[in-house]
Symmetry: C3
Subunit: 505 residues, 3 copies
């Protein structure tokens, strides 16, 4: 039996991983998404026999359990048949589900316009010492992300004792160290500044600033994430390297022999020898190894890591400085906003670093103004984002739509402003967030003791009485972070059902 | 005899009224427009026999009257043949024309990219207590309106003693009460503010602010207009309701059962009962009826209407506070600019409220910087807007183009910056204007005593001598508002001609 | 033998010169560009026999000379066969090349998205007294220039003793006098300001300001360049003239007879006579001749030219006031930035005026943030701009790309931010630059004594030792401007080769 639909889908996925995204005009094909309600949001591409397969088990289940509303998801990977999933009850609980069913998350990934799995990064430079990778353009993924067209996300990794060669780009960068140590050197015509950076330190690199980046550590890799804001054209920028390597010509080689000879007032052979080198002594790539001696020399002028809470203008920002804005035994939420840092004010972005302990839930909330680009630094999590479904003509009730993803290291997830979101950590995890349009952003929680906006409308929004709503809201004793499996043991009694479901197919 | 051209046009009109305008990419087809000069601006779609029909009566008329320049308009509705109209003389005067000729205005409406008749609003929510309607996207109507792609106009109406349920949107709103009374409640995590509003009061609702709106009046409907500035994507935004109704799911239902149980630390049945309710006790829609008791309760905390001229930050703005900027016995023009209100400064918009008495003319003028979105609150009017015609290759003289429309209640008209405009009230009328890019806008009048820019170039711009021009400009004793029919009686002597024209077809 | 490829290319060029660029959506077809390396950047349109012709002479030359890297350019005009050009050695030196080879520059022009030859200006108005011309839209030329979509460049020329009639536009203007003298009059409802301007004086004309421009000189033409920033729609604006001429209707004529009669409270015949005139007394066009008497009258109120270094707000800016920021015996570079002028701050643009003496080279440099729109006022020059080549899939080394053009009077060249550029003057020349996004822009030089960013990374970026690099950089004794042919005599010994090359084809 063949499933041309899903074969097709897999192909789309592969195309999506190509990076040279200008000619491609990659259009997200939403084939299957999580839905509430009995309708399948298939956008007229699901063949008839698929529909039949889905309905049959639903009828079966209707005889067993009460279904307030039903969400059907079509899952397919390789040769396995698709599998229906009733919602919200009796949905197999998460841990069990993941043991035997990562098929589901795969299919979600390809259809969730807000989720960029780590394979959506395209390699720009790569050699044995490290790589630079660039995330797919946001607005090419979905028109939902059109307002992010002036933003790109890049990732840099390098081995111990290496150097990313001097270059500049036609983009403003906000660079954040995810792990390891770095010496970042910013070069201007009149001065050179070197900074020691470590995990959760950020530094703005203004467009056109020549810079280089050393991993001075003897053991640990350096991992850096970069928000790039191109200045010449929307969503595209170039790296201009001074050095001539096997991976990248020196930009000085772009000038004609005549221009070079006049510029340096000497003959071309001399210029060629000193600046560009022979084939045999060219560097292998834009990331090169350094000797201990060289590292020592480069470290000498670097400013020590600042432990100040408020970083002076133009100096590195410690995202985790001061007190977390939200914190309990289950997690910590650090944030630096445009209001308290001039580098960020200028770009109107915020930076956040969030720890969620294994088994904890970052409670449902939304940002009033910011679009948040979330980068997974460490750990695994489930994220649920709630949007509104595009209305079909014949529908009576406007429905909400859940965008769900299983996040792991290096994945990126975009949280639009005002869309409610919650995150459950499956292992200890750390997230880095870039908030776009961050000035005056407010975070409104929808559960928990504090900052809970639902509490303010308890008397007017719900069928339950104000007393009932208050009582309900007071069950949760925590704020911001809560236990994600408060009644795990009880529910495990309902465990057999998933196995039954599994047995049916 | 068939007129496929116009049938086609009618169809376009119908398509245009559909709201889900993303897939449609509605392109305004300008088929016939008002023109000065003998050429018909038909953009190569008018069939040959139409041209013939037009030219014949023109030749006839050329023998009777002097034609300084001629404007031909092709009118067609249902089965009636089209009808030429010579310009500027002997054009039938307006009142007569409207008695027997609303065909004309219909055809103009469909071809004037700046005019949005009230049927260009699409219903988003509607039940027996009221509705929310959203105007067609500006930039989908015409590339001329591309700079308005980040703006939408929404209208809300509700019956006495009703409530629009709590919700938030991913857009900044500038809400203005057109008629009736309202209690607007803005909910944040740490405070709740309620304001009493009445006609011509405006309030900014920042993106993400949960709010609800009560019509506390026992008799009068509430009518509200809203300028929406989406934050996530250009020209589109969503309303997120907390309440679960037959029209709209609660956004909390978008989270999975697991996430909800963990968030509220209780079982799903309890959450479902208290927050979402059973089918039988669901509200019919997002606008619900309130008892007198509930109205009293909700009114109790609302701040009284502020009569201050300068409204404090974050408090409602009285658009008609203080003195009108232009005023005489024929009309009044109130305006609040970014310069005198911080809520408006932040959005760079202005608000204006204009009364024009029946039979008065708001004199020709243009805005130097602002694009004005005009909403007709009350009354009927003729508006004339002057642009420049896109040049044809074989033309010698670049021509101006008149965009004319008959405005009535709930119509919207966009006045681009620097395009001259004048409005004649056919009944007492009130207009509300949102000025986009309002900072430092200057209004230049082209007739009347004051603020008349023509007077400043009387010696250099015209064939008449400076004295002649001055004399001409001094006939008009009024400023800003003037009598629209100063010589009505004289002209009525020329009345027969329209009847003759009418008889010819 | 036929070359359909190039025929096609010529056709594109012609289409590109049409001005009504909205319907056209002109897409730059880069068919042949200057390249470093053996690959021909032909974007799969060069037929096979062309490739063969190119490779054959390359093989021949490889036997004669050492080729560090090779740049092949395909040149074709009319019936001449294409001609390969090895790079960088032994490239025929510039003067020789230009004597027999202006074909090359022609082909470059059509493929260089940053170069707009003066024929890319389209005439908007023209009569015997002068003309107004508008440059092709930037973003229609290339997606590389998409961020310039809100900018247009217009040119105005008029004969001695003439007047450009009063009008306003829906665009902000930054007007700069390139040569001649002008009296610019800005008209508002409450005041009229006249300014004397001469070469290198600039004045902002806010959108909607009615203005007129006199050439009061008895002998010299007036030449003005204008950066226009439209307010209603991206990249398009209109001129609204008050006067009724053979070239352009008065915008007042756009109003109906009824509206005009009511506005001026008189009959239409009187309005027509005084404001619009009869056919026989209409002006020929929007530029008219003035008598000496009229000139005297108009000069009377004009403010004298300000020689102040810092111009007061709203007064003309002398771009060449104060000291040049870079200067030596070979050239001078004047610049006014947003930081030192409020008119420019508001628009975030800078103005520069650069003199380069014949035979001098403006040394390689890049702007960190600004995109510069360069207008050639006087003289001839070669410009070289270095970008990065779009990567082909099978390439190993990312290559740089040289965009080269021969500039002459009235040409426009766009220099993107961060792209290195250098200019060699072939005659004494003067350039005017509009810098877009100018705030905090930094200019980094890549050669010369001062402001040389390469010097700062001499120890880390190059195969040569730090000492070698320093030594190399110290050969050049000048800063900013240098001799473009320092070793001209030596190289002339290598002269025969170009002749040999020429003989081969």
């Amino acid at each position: 039996m063949e499933y041309p639909l899903f074969e097709n889908n897999v192909q789309v996925e592969q195309i999506g991983t190509k990076c040279n995204d200008r000619p491609l005009e990659y259009e997200d094909r939403r084939v299957h998404v999580y839905l509430n309600g009995m309708q399948s949001n298939t956008y007229n591409t699901i063949p008839y026999y698929t529909m039949m397969r889905v309905r049959f088990p639903l009828l079966l289940l209707l005889g067993i359990v009460f279904l307030a509303s039903v969400s059907a998801s079509f899952v397919k990977q390789q040769d396995e048949p698709e599998q229906p999933r009733p919602y919200p009850y009796p949905r197999p609980h998460q841990p069990h589900q993941k043991e035997h069913g990562s098929e589901e998350s795969e299919s979600q990934r390809s259809n969730n316009p807000f989720y960029f799995s780590s394979n959506k990064f395209h390699t720009i430079y790569e050699n044995k010492y490290g790589h630079i990778r660039l995330l797919q353009r946001f607005e090419k993924r979905s028109t939902q992300l059109e307002n992010l067209r002036d933003y790109r996300v890049a990732e840099f990794k390098s081995k111990p004792n290496t150097l990313l060669l001097p270059h500049h780009a036609d983009a403003d960068f906000m660079l954040v160290v995810l792990s390891g140590r770095a010496i970042l050197t910013l070069v201007n015509t009149d001065n050179v500044d070197s900074y020691n950076l470590e995990s959760a330190y950020a530094q703005r690199i203004p467009a056109g600033t020549t810079f280089y980046l050393v991993n001075p550590d003897d053991n640990d890799n350096l991992r850096v994430i970069c928000l790039a804001m191109p200045v010449n054209k929307p969503g595209r920028y170039e790296d201009f390297f001074l050095s001539n390597t096997e991976e990248q010509q020196s930009y000085l080689q772009g000038f004609s022999k005549n221009f070079l000879e006049a510029s340096y007032d000497t003959n071309f052979e001399e210029i060629n020898r000193v600046l560009f080198g022979e084939k045999q002594n060219k560097q292998e790539g834009v990331i090169v190894q350094l000797s201990k001696e060289q590292i020592r020399e480069l470290s000498r002028h670097a400013k020590p890591i600042s432990r100040k809470t408020i970083s002076p203008e133009n100096e590195p920002i410690n995202v985790r400085s001061g007190h977390p804005i939200y914190s309990n035994k289950l997690g910590q939420f650090y944030e630096i906003t445009p209001e308290n840092n001039p580098q960020l004010r200028n770009l109107d972005i915020s930076l956040s670093s969030v720890d969620i302990n294994e088994g904890a839930l970052l409670l449902p909330h939304y940002n009033s103004k910011s679009i948040v680009i979330l980068v997974v630094n460490e750990g695994k999590a489930n994220i649920e984002l709630v949007g509104l479904r595009e209305q079909q003509e014949d529908e009576e009730t406007k429905e909400v739509q859940r965008y769900r993803a299983e996040l792991s290291e290096d994945d990126v997830f975009v949280i639009p402003a005002d869309y409610p979101v919650a995150i459950e950590a499956n292992s200890n995890m750390n997230l880095l967030g870039f908030g776009i349009n961050a000035e005056n952003n407010q975070r409104n929680f929808l559960a928990g003791k504090k900052d809970n906006v639902v509490r303010q409308v308890s008397d007017i929004a719900f069928p339950g009485s104000a007393q009932d709503v208050e009582k309900l809201l007071n069950y949760q004793k925590e704020s911001y972070f809560a236990d994600a499996q408060p009644s795990k043991k009880e529910k495990e009694g309902k465990g057999p059902l998933p196995s039954i479901l599994g047995a049916l197919y």
